[in-house]
Symmetry: C2
Subunit: 414 residues, 2 copies
């Protein structure tokens, strides 16, 4: 029997979405290895178990000295120090720097006892077993102090961050090999229609190929979700009921087709039997007949059968709702470019491409202080990169600049 | 022995990269299923094997009629047609529409013989077995013609496209279940340094955790590449040589540490023995000591040990070079927002959010013609979306608008 065309409420997209988000249950958690956490949503705060650096270390290649020994040194008045050994990276120095002595040291190596500064290699000359110091250094000059980058007990990453490669760097540098994340959502995909034939099979008459199912499965993969295709449901209450019941073993369900009121709205009928229809009909083109429901806190997306409307409905409703299951709202996407007013001067050397780590928030761009190029935490504290082209000397405070986000900017629900 | 600090040429980033890209071999190909092609790079043109639609079909719910029979119909002068049956979607109609008859039809159903137009349901009244037509239709009104969306023989997607969910939709709609793509690059990751300890192990003295390796592995995953961690190489020619030789079984190699000229530049030494150093030293901050080489057409990235510089070097050199192995250059990223001047008027209904498919190129935005919301090919012909908010009636030709890219915009090398 052919039913006549009905009407649906045309609800605003944002209102429909917000009501849906309010009804979704958050997924459980699991632990993933630090080598394989990209894109996962953090379900715990990451707290530093020790200082980084763990020890005072050289920030430059040169000689570890007692700063006091170099006072007054200049090119015209070099001060001679006796070479007392060298410290390699990774090695706990056995040598101690006594007054009048110097120890060769590499960037990153542990400062030997007695030394409190590093004279840069460029400011020295070798003269047999003697080192000529050509420039004085103050105490702690060219030394990265213990805890300078991250302090023990500091929260380095908060619950709700979508984990990025730089986060893996910081987590690993804290010796953490596993972190707690929300489970990867498993989403079942059903396409409905008597007219559908699976790809790879022969086609005839008025049949068409099932294109929505592979399309939605790939869209799920794009966001790092797991896609489970349950194939085609025919246009009968029984067939749809069976497929939906199979689909509800997973975390969420996407169904395309069968939502148009009055033609064959069998899918909403089935969902209403076992759960709740949250909206049916939105003021969006294409995609007016889009619907969504919730069964036991699991979202069920009922997208129109027309492929363009189905894909738009997926991005508009399913993506935010599935992230809601991992407790986050995405405010701005990684790699997107954002504009903002620079809140401080950014100097850069002409002829060199500068990559300045900044924090972008609410149309403002804050330069992030960095104590050395080795300081990875700056890549976690900063959420964006400001590129200063070779031709520019930098940017002034108050200038409008364009930055590229280095991570998804998120908000946590709970 | 500690060697003294050397100097390297500071080459511009773009020049260094271009020289590297010129020396890289393209990977082989493989076939992937249409359910799992997201992010893969197409290695063949996709040609339509048949028209889409495959047959004339109704574009509206209503009645299939002979247009001539409705001429002169109006609300005040309805024309009566006799209901001769109905056609369901997916069904080859057995009924033929003879003069004076009408057949009930759903959007997407095959047009029955004899009929050449569809009267919309809204423009009819039912009167027993008679249909009152309240509005005349012209021939082919409300009919989607065979081949209207895609013509047999048409190239739908070209080699070098990075495949997206909407492409899966179009490919599946053509009945194609497998497509030829470039192999997924397998990239080996080595970190060098005597100071390194693997995450999860105990740490002491001047040791630090190996954070670069998990960071780079996650960065590879981010782009859908395969990451193979080969762990830590100690600072000896032998150890590095062994690890590199193991790594060269894969398609590309990322090594962090050991590039700084004069401190311990063992890695470039090893690469020079077996291949070619393409550049060593770039005018980029952080990351001056970044180097790259090629061994048998496989790129070897030698990134500084400092994590921030390593990650920047990865994005700046490794990502474009690895895409080069799949024959593409990425011009602009999916989801990035781009500005452009609208090359035609875009109307939209107030109170409804419009999603207009457009083609963005060289600062210009071209609206893409769409014959129906079901027309998926428009999502492949268009590469961007222009959202018209509920509050606006549309945009005028010549206005500057901001669009969101729906796919990576690429150029092919070969």
């Amino acid at each position: 029997m052919v039913r006549e065309k009905g009407f649906w409420k045309r609800e605003r997209v944002d209102e429909a979405l917000n009501r849906l988000l309010g009804k979704i249950k958050v997924l459980g958690t699991e632990h993933v290895n630090v080598y394989n956490l990209n894109g996962r949503v953090l379900a715990e705060d990451i707290v530093a178990g020790f200082d980084i650096p763990r020890f005072d270390r050289a920030a430059m290649d040169g000689y570890a000295v007692r700063a006091e020994d170099t006072f007054g040194a200049s090119v015209n008045n070099p001060i001679m120090l006796e070479l007392a050994g060298s410290v390699e990276i990774g090695e706990t120095p056995e040598v101690e720097v006594e007054p009048g002595k110097a120890v060769r040291i590499m960037t990153g190596a542990m400062m030997p006892k007695g030394a409190n500064a590093v004279v840069m290699l460029e400011h020295t000359r070798i003269n047999g077993n003697l080192i000529e110091v050509l420039k004085a250094v103050t105490p702690m000059k060219n030394v990265s102090r213990r805890g300078e980058d991250i302090k023990e007990g500091e929260v380095v990453l908060r619950k709700g961050e979508i984990l990025q490669p730089q986060d893996a760097g910081v987590i690993a540098s804290l010796g953490i090999d596993k972190v707690k994340v929300y489970r990867k959502p498993k989403v079942a995909v059903i396409t409905t229609g008597n007219e559908l034939v699976e790809v790879g099979e022969a086609i005839e008459g008025a049949k068409i190929y099932n294109s929505n199912n592979p399309m939605i499965c790939n869209a799920l993969l794009e966001f790092g979700f797991e896609a489970i295709s349950l194939g085609i449901a025919r246009d009968s209450i029984e067939d749809i009921r069976n497929k939906v019941s199979e689909a509800l073993k997973f975390d969420a369900v996407v169904i395309t087709g069968g939502t148009s009121v009055g033609s064959k709205d069998l899918v909403p009928e089935v969902i209403e039997e076992i759960g709740e229809i949250v909206f049916h009909g939105v003021s969006m083109k294409p995609g007016m007949p889009t619907a969504a429901g919730v069964v036991d806190g699991k979202p069920v997306f009922m997208l129109p059968g027309s492929p363009a409307a189905a894909l738009l409905g997926f991005y508009t409703f399913a993506v935010p709702a599935i992230y809601r299951m991992m407790n986050v709202k995405i405010v701005a996407r990684k790699w997107s470019r954002q504009r903002g007013i620079l809140q401080g001067r950014v100097p850069s050397e002409t002829g060199v491409r500068g990559n300045v780590r900044v924090h972008w928030q609410d149309g403002k761009v804050y330069p992030v202080r960095i104590s050395g190029s080795g300081v990875l935490s700056s890549f976690v504290r900063a959420n964006a990169l400001l590129v200063v082209p070779e031709e520019r000397e930098g940017y002034e405070e108050g200038e409008e600049v364009e930055v590229t986000l280095l991570r998804d900017v998120t908000e946590v629900f709970e």
